[in-house]
């Protein structure tokens, strides 16, 4: 069964697409958590509040980015993946949004492979 995470469903300003992306993305992070929880010994990571991204004010987006970065930082060592600080982008601006998307998607491809969650 394919995952719901689709990197190509969102363009800047596309609210329905952003909602679908955020939904699938959150579920993908839950898959990583499940994969880690199934290890011996189990690695338990609590979900971070990054399900909702549509309609957020700028301070809420900053909080979302920070929470999301923390989740990535916790997961990276178990996947032997390194990545940039994904909280350091102003995704309310188109250029930064697309740059962030590219870097973020690239990291998720590696995480998907590491956790067999594609």
């Amino acid at each position: 069964m394919a995952s719901e995470f689709a990197a190509n469903v969102v363009a800047f300003g596309d609210q329905p697409g952003l909602g679908l992306w955020a939904d699938g993305h959150y579920r993908q992070h839950l898959r990583y958590n499940s994969a880690l929880a199934a290890r011996t010994p189990a690695v338990v990571i609590a979900p971070f509040p990054i399900l909702h991204l549509v309609g957020l004010a700028k301070p809420e987006i900053v909080f979302w980015l920070d929470s999301h970065e923390k989740w990535h930082e916790l997961v990276r060592p178990f996947a032997n993946v390194t990545g940039v600080d994904l909280s350091g982008f102003d995704i309310t601006k188109p250029a930064a949004f697309y740059e962030w998307q590219d870097l973020h998607n690239a990291e998720h491809l590696l995480l998907d492979q590491a956790f067999n969650a594609a």
Partner: protein
């Protein structure tokens, strides 16, 4: 420069409504900005200066005699599009959406007034009902609890048949089930490829073991398995990831149990095949699961005050695994018939308004309808549709719309049903029947577009369908002070820019907060024929009587008008077709500063 003491002529001023961004019913007309209108009925916004009349309703497709609709669902079975018509007497009738031909699915007293329905693989409809339980119809055969399932699996086709063997069923506590064998091969080398149930019988009970018996000359006898149709009831269902999901009641009578069939089909309740159930224990499901809907690759589980979502499912050791996410703990609906997928959103309505699910985020999208929802009568359950609305004046094109039917306590026209139409973040009103009871959407195979079927009782009528039909339009602008709220204004003239495909008239009412002055205007122009000598040509028919030619097009009719107040606006109304409203303008003079205190 006028001489002293000479009366100064009042300077004429103008107020023009040149474009409307949207309809907004949330605030009173005098509180609206000039670029919002207070009401737009049967006028679809195509541009800020182009609000165009919609197609009228088609002639009644058919009448389901002596029935009153309670819910309607679309279905496609073997290439035929149906309007599935559930009636208040508990019956169900399938209406061919193209021909209007009727087929009785279930007799009266079979279902409650709130059945739910979905379609399985264009093969059959599946019905879930608190009274009638789980049932199915494949275009021919109706099966419900107590009968055998039509899902008969041939495990060995046998060999050496020269004709179809008789099929019978033994075992179990029921009787009356009949079936026929479908044969492959030819001559004396035929074999059974399928078994078609022709009557489900009755009286079968859960756990009954059924044996399929083939009687006929053969070399090797065919074998098949049959099972009873699941005996269960519920309040809502849908098909997701190839499984049937439904909500059933717990011991306290609350619909909190989420059930799902196994991997062997719509009738597979065998836990060995990963069928199962889970009870929603969380307290944010206040009372009941009210709707289960498969939309946009997710299964949404609506409660009366919450929404959950299931994504992909997996099977591990015959157990179905999935992750439900709670999307909202304080927003839900008791109106499952309002749920639609719309442009990658999932839309639904409750008594507070219409909401869009953006992936996982739920946002209210109907603030502009707050004035309507404040006067809605929810004793008529809201229902919804999708419609590709075609323009009637400009050629080509259509706009995909979400339609929400509700009963409106209209302070002017009295209680009536209206349809709130949503497109491109704008709302407008469709009115094609003051006593509609239900609407629903069918994606018609014949037109490859979304169309709306409605019922006011026993009728089945397609809305927004007939380009030449007249519709009643009603458009109310804001009431504007024209940036001079202190000045009282005296209206002199009023006019409306319109585009019309035919010669027709309409009513313009020039309004202030104190007055309403109505005038009939013509959206037409007299066509004058000139010959090559430059002379006017007059025509007569064979009566003989003078014949005049009148054409439509862009016009700006105006009239002298009266009224005085601090704010000015207008209402356009009439019964028209192929009509578009482009602008509205008023000429006035200033009257007294501060005016008269009423």
């Amino acid at each position: 420069m006028p001489a002293p003491q000479q009366e100064q002529p009042a300077a004429n001023k103008f107020l023009a409504y040149l474009g409307w961004k949207k309809m907004n019913t949330k605030v009173a007309r005098q509180n609206l900005p000039d670029d919002e209108c207070a009401w737009a009925e049967n006028l679809q916004p195509l541009a800020p200066n182009l609000w165009q009349s919609v197609n009228g309703a088609a002639a009644t497709l058919t009448v389901v005699t002596a029935k009153t609709v309670t819910r309607k669902f679309p279905a496609n079975i073997a290439g035929i599009d149906y309007d599935i018509f559930f009636a208040t007497d508990g019956s169900c009738t399938a209406v061919n959406a193209n021909s209007g031909a009727q087929t009785t699915v279930a007799a009266a007293a079979t279902f409650s007034t709130t059945p739910d329905m979905t379609t399985y693989a264009s093969q059959r409809i599946l019905i879930m009902d608190p009274t009638g339980g789980y049932a199915t119809w494949d275009g021919t055969l109706f099966v419900k609890g107590g009968g055998l399932s039509p899902n008969i699996n041939v495990t060995n086709g046998g060999s050496g048949y020269s004709a179809a063997p008789a099929v019978s069923f033994t075992g179990g506590s029921g009787s009356g089930a009949t079936a026929t064998a479908v044969m492959g091969g030819s001559g004396s080398a035929q074999f059974v490829v399928a078994v078609t149930l022709t009557s489900p019988g009755s009286g079968y009970k859960a756990g009954d073991a059924i044996t399929v018996v083939f009687t006929g000359s053969n070399t090797t006898v065919a074998t098949a398995t049959a099972r009873i149709w699941p005996i269960t009831s519920g309040i809502t269902l849908d098909v997701f990831a190839g499984r049937v999901w439904w909500a059933s009641a717990n011991a306290q009578g609350n619909y909190r149990i989420l059930n799902f069939t196994g991997t062997a089909g719509y009738d597979d309740t065998n836990t060995a095949n990963a069928a199962g159930s889970t009870t929603v224990l969380d307290n944010d499901l206040s009372h009941n699961i009210t709707g289960i809907r498969n939309k946009n690759n997710f299964l949404y589980i609506f409660g009366d005050s919450s929404v959950r979502q299931i994504g992909s499912i997996t099977v591990s050791s015959s157990i179905t695994l999935f992750t439900p996410l709670t999307l909202a703990s304080d927003i839900g609906t008791t109106f499952p018939m309002t749920v639609q997928s719309y442009n990658r959103l999932v839309l639904f309505a409750n008594t507070a308004g219409v909401y869009g699910i953006f992936g996982a985020s739920i946002r209210k999208i109907s603030d502009d309808l707050d004035g309507i929802f404040a006067l809605a009568d929810f004793s008529l359950p809201m229902s919804s549709s999708l419609n590709d609305v075609h323009s009637t004046v400009t050629a080509g094109g259509s706009i995909h719309c979400y339609l929400l039917l509700l009963r409106y306590l209209d302070p002017v026209q009295g209680t009536r049903t209206i349809i709130c139409a949503y497109q491109n973040d704008q709302w407008w009103i469709v009115s094609q029947g003051n006593a509609l009871l239900a609407i629903m959407a069918i994606f018609l195979g014949s037109t490859q577009q979304w169309d709306t079927f409605a019922s006011s009782g026993s009728d089945v009528t397609q809305l927004l369908q007939t380009p030449g039909a007249t519709v009643s339009v009603l458009f109310k602008s804001a009431l504007s002070s024209n940036r001079a709220p202190l000045l009282s204004k005296r209206v002199i003239r009023a006019g409306v820019a319109v585009t019309s495909g035919i010669a027709q008239s309409f009513l313009l009412t020039a309004e202030t907060e104190n007055s309403a002055d109505g005038h009939t205007l013509n959206a037409a122009a007299l066509i004058i024929w000139i010959n090559n000598l430059g002379q006017q040509v007059n025509w007569q028919n064979n009566s003989p009587a003078a014949v005049t030619f009148v054409g439509g097009g862009y016009r700006f009719p105006y009239t002298a008008a009266q009224g005085e107040g601090k704010v000015i606006g207008g209402t356009v109304s009439g019964t028209v077709s192929k009509f578009a409203l482009n602008a509205m303008a008023f000429e006035y003079v200033d009257a007294a500063i501060w005016g008269t205190i009423p």
